[in-house]
């Protein structure tokens, strides 16, 4: 699996590359700013670009903007945005502009501490899935519209949280130590209680859940 990394801090960039290479990924380019990222992606056509949201010269959200631009010019490249902080509004923008095709992720940089989890998320996004930081999901769950989730059982709430992070049924089953069948039952119950439209892919499922959580 071929990956391009855009991160302005050399320490982090090198660490990330080493972590990915140790896990048998092929890091084909490591760049430090948004222009170089766009060039590298158009040249290498990688499976995934890992992008820091803040890049030179203004250190605002040029990473995010470059990523959205790449969505149009290199749609086959999945995008994983990393950030020092997360905002659910940015997540919503990223998902909205990424369209319904999947292959997007938005994670805190802290997540690299748990290498196994991080690598799993990288793989999921590169395969066309979704990875949303638990912090984003908890922001959404804790917001002003969250009282509508009171109809869910605690277990269903756990399943909803993992679902919103973009995990597959198998992934949810593994982390909650349940069978896939039990997870499917919980999910059916959640969709029925919240009156969500049925979704054919994990990514569409994330969009549906997020749309629900963002209503106020």
């Amino acid at each position: 699996m071929r990956i391009v990394i855009a991160e302005d801090l050399a320490l982090l960039r090198d660490g990330l590359a080493r972590l990915l290479r140790d896990n048998d990924f092929d890091v084909v380019a490591e760049v430090a700013d948004a222009d170089a990222l766009v060039h590298a992606v158009l040249r290498e056509r990688p499976d995934l670009a890992i992008v820091d949201i803040r890049l030179p010269p203004t250190f605002r959200d040029e990473g995010l903007r470059a990523a959205l631009e790449l969505r149009g010019s290199a749609p086959e490249t999945a995008i994983l945005v990393l950030s020092q902080y997360v905002e659910h509004t940015y997540a919503a923008e990223l998902l909205a502009q990424a369209g319904s095709s999947g292959g997007v992720g938005y994670l805190l940089k802290d997540r690299v501490l748990d290498a196994a989890d991080f690598v799993e998320a990288v793989r999921r996004v590169a395969d066309g899935g979704t990875a949303l930081d638990p912090e984003v999901v908890s922001q959404l769950l804790g917001n002003r519209g969250s009282h509508r989730l009171d109809v869910l059982t605690p277990r269903e709430l756990e399943v909803l949280t993992l679902m919103a992070e973009g995990r597959s049924n198998a992934g949810i089953a593994e982390s909650l130590v349940l069978t896939v069948g039990a997870v499917e039952k919980h999910i059916a119950s959640i969709f029925q209680k919240l009156q969500l439209p049925p979704s054919d892919t994990d990514h569409r499922r994330v969009l549906a859940v997020l749309a629900y959580l963002q209503e106020r």
Binding site: Y85, E87, D110, N143, R144
Partner: protein, 538 residues
């Protein structure tokens, strides 16, 4: 067109009503002439004394009275309903005088009266002369015996000849009737367009346009009158150029109007009074010099007026300069205080950040180093224990990262820089445990320091409400009003917030450093409203 139609105006009541309105122009012209001359002469003479203010107001009242009276006459005789608009009123003593000079309604009314005085007078005289001539022609067969009129070699001294005048007179009457209708309609149009209401000016821009138009009307009326009188002068033999006595006062009037208009639109408020004073004196002086030039010349008497009026302007300038100096020194004092506050506030803020870093991240890194050191020692002897320590270290790093993130957000939330105060407050509201509404009404982003200060006012007020007040609900509104960014935070808690407490005092310093004001209303028992107004020059 039937045969009777040419004479129809003769037996229609409207014709006679028009005639009445036109005839009224003669006495009205006399009154207007007296009013305008007496009014502006006394205003010009008293222009440098405070007496000019009541005089101007009184003059405007008389002009308004006359204009309204004529409008009433026009309503009953011509059937137009102009419904005169209200005057604009100023505030303060000199403000009232300025409001008169800038009042479009006043200038339109005066323009109307000047037209009524000249055009209206000419209409009335012409119409009445025509009627008199026609009536005398029609009645000639009755009175030719006593005084037969002569037109060159034509003597109407027999009944036959006198009878020949009758059809001419009758035709003259018909023409007079038609003329009365036409002039009446023209007068009605004049009344409608100059005394009628105009749409209320909704915006400052529109107000400015109306005032510009009033200046335009004033200039056109003056120019028209000068041209008219010059024509009359040329037709009547072009002797002594008397229309200069129309031209000069009207030019003075227009100059004053234009000076006030220009000064109020071009100059800063604090310079206006002096500029208007100086401008009016200069115009008056030029007027007097012109009067001197067109009269006997000789001894240059306007010098004395210049001396008198000029020293008044000089005095005004000195007073203004002193006052400005006072204002500046007061301003320096305020700035010194607020700058000291800003520096102190920054100091306190730096100390807080230093403490947070020292107690938080630094302590965590020490603990982390210890865990890793111990793990290193245990690698050989106790691999399981070492793994445990490494896992602990990793958890410590995660904690430290979270702390650092919170600290960074407290210093400057990134979303504020990226997306502006609206998004930043929404995020804040999402994190708040209380029900929080945010309404932001801004067309464009304010300057960064203002936006940051506004954000921290809201953030601190929200934190206070959550911590101390026992509030259940917070409403935040951000808007722009007259060049100020206004932030208001309202909570339904128990009130009693201490405006001198460290949190609010810090906010006050932050707001005052930007020349803003912070008001805290927090009676015991609640509710609490904190409001910051920050100037944002744009």
């Amino acid at each position: 067109m039937s045969l009777t139609s040419p004479i129809r105006p003769l037996y229609q009541a409207q014709t006679y009503r028009n005639l009445l309105f036109l005839a009224a122009g003669i006495p009205i012209a006399a009154v207007v002439l007296g009013l305008v001359i007496a009014g502006w002469t006394s205003i010009a003479v008293l222009a440098i004394t405070p007496l000019v203010v009541p005089l101007l107001l009184g003059y405007r009242a008389l002009v308004g009275l006359l204009a309204r009276g004529d409008a009433k006459l026009a309503r009953s005789l011509l059937g137009v309903r102009p419904d005169p608009p209200a005057w604009s009123e100023g505030r303060g003593f000199w403000g009232r005088a300025k409001a008169v000079v800038l009042d479009p309604t006043f200038w339109r009314q005066q323009g109307y009266l000047l037209l009524r005085m000249t055009l209206g007078f000419a209409f009335a005289v012409g119409e009445l002369a025509l009627i008199a001539a026609a009536v005398s022609a029609v009645t000639l067969p009755i009175w030719y015996r006593w005084s037969a009129p002569e037109y060159g070699s034509w003597h109407a001294d027999t009944l036959g000849r006198a009878l020949m005048h009758v059809p001419v007179g009758a035709a003259g009457l018909i023409v007079a009737a038609w003329l009365a209708r036409i002039l009446g309609s023209f007068s009605a149009w004049q009344v409608r367009s100059l005394l009628g209401p105009r749409p209320a000016p909704a915006t400052v821009d529109q107000q400015r346009r109306y005032r510009r138009r009033a200046l335009w009307i004033d200039g056109c009326t003056a120019l028209g009158l000068v041209v008219l009188t010059t024509l009359v002068w040329a037709v009547t033999g072009a002797g002594y150029y008397w229309p200069q006595w129309v031209l000069l006062p009207l030019a003075l009037l227009f100059a004053i109007h234009a000076i006030v208009e220009l000064v109020t639109t071009r100059l800063a408020r604090r310079d206006q009074a002096l500029a208007i004073h100086g401008g009016v004196v200069a115009a008056l002086f030029l007027f007097l010099v012109a009067v001197w030039a067109v009269t006997a010349r000789g001894y240059f008497w306007p010098a004395w007026t210049l001396l008198g009026l000029g020293s008044a302007v000089l005095l005004h300038w000195l007073i203004t300069r002193n006052r400005r100096r006072d204002r500046l020194s007061r301003r320096v004092e305020t700035l010194e205080t607020s700058r000291l506050g800003a520096v102190e506030g920054q100091d306190a803020e730096l100390r807080r950040i230093e403490r947070d870093l020292h107690d938080g991240a630094q302590a965590r890194l020490v603990a982390l180093g210890m865990s890793l050191g111990m793990a290193e020692q245990k690698f050989e002897s106790d691999p399981e224990g070492a793994q445990q320590l490494v896992a602990e270290a990793r958890a410590g790093v995660a904690e430290a990262l979270k702390e650092m993130r919170d600290l960074a957000r407290g210093i400057y939330p990134p979303v504020l820089a990226d997306r502006g105060i609206g998004a930043a407050l929404e995020t804040l509201a999402d994190r708040s445990p209380l029900t929080t509404t945010v309404s932001v009404d801004l067309l464009e982003r304010p300057p960064a320091p203002v936006e940051t200060a506004a954000y921290f006012v809201a953030a601190e007020a929200m934190a206070n409400a959550a911590k101390h007040s026992g509030a259940g609900r917070i409403d935040i509104s951000v808007g722009r009003n007259d060049g100020m960014l206004e932030v208001e935070i309202h909570d339904d808690g128990s009130g009693g917030a201490d405006a001198a407490g460290s949190g609010l005092a810090g906010l006050r310093r932050r707001v005052e450093a930007l020349d803003g004001t912070l008001t805290v209303q927090s009676p015991a028992g609640g509710p609490t409203t904190i409001r910051a107004e920050l100037p944002c020059a744009s």
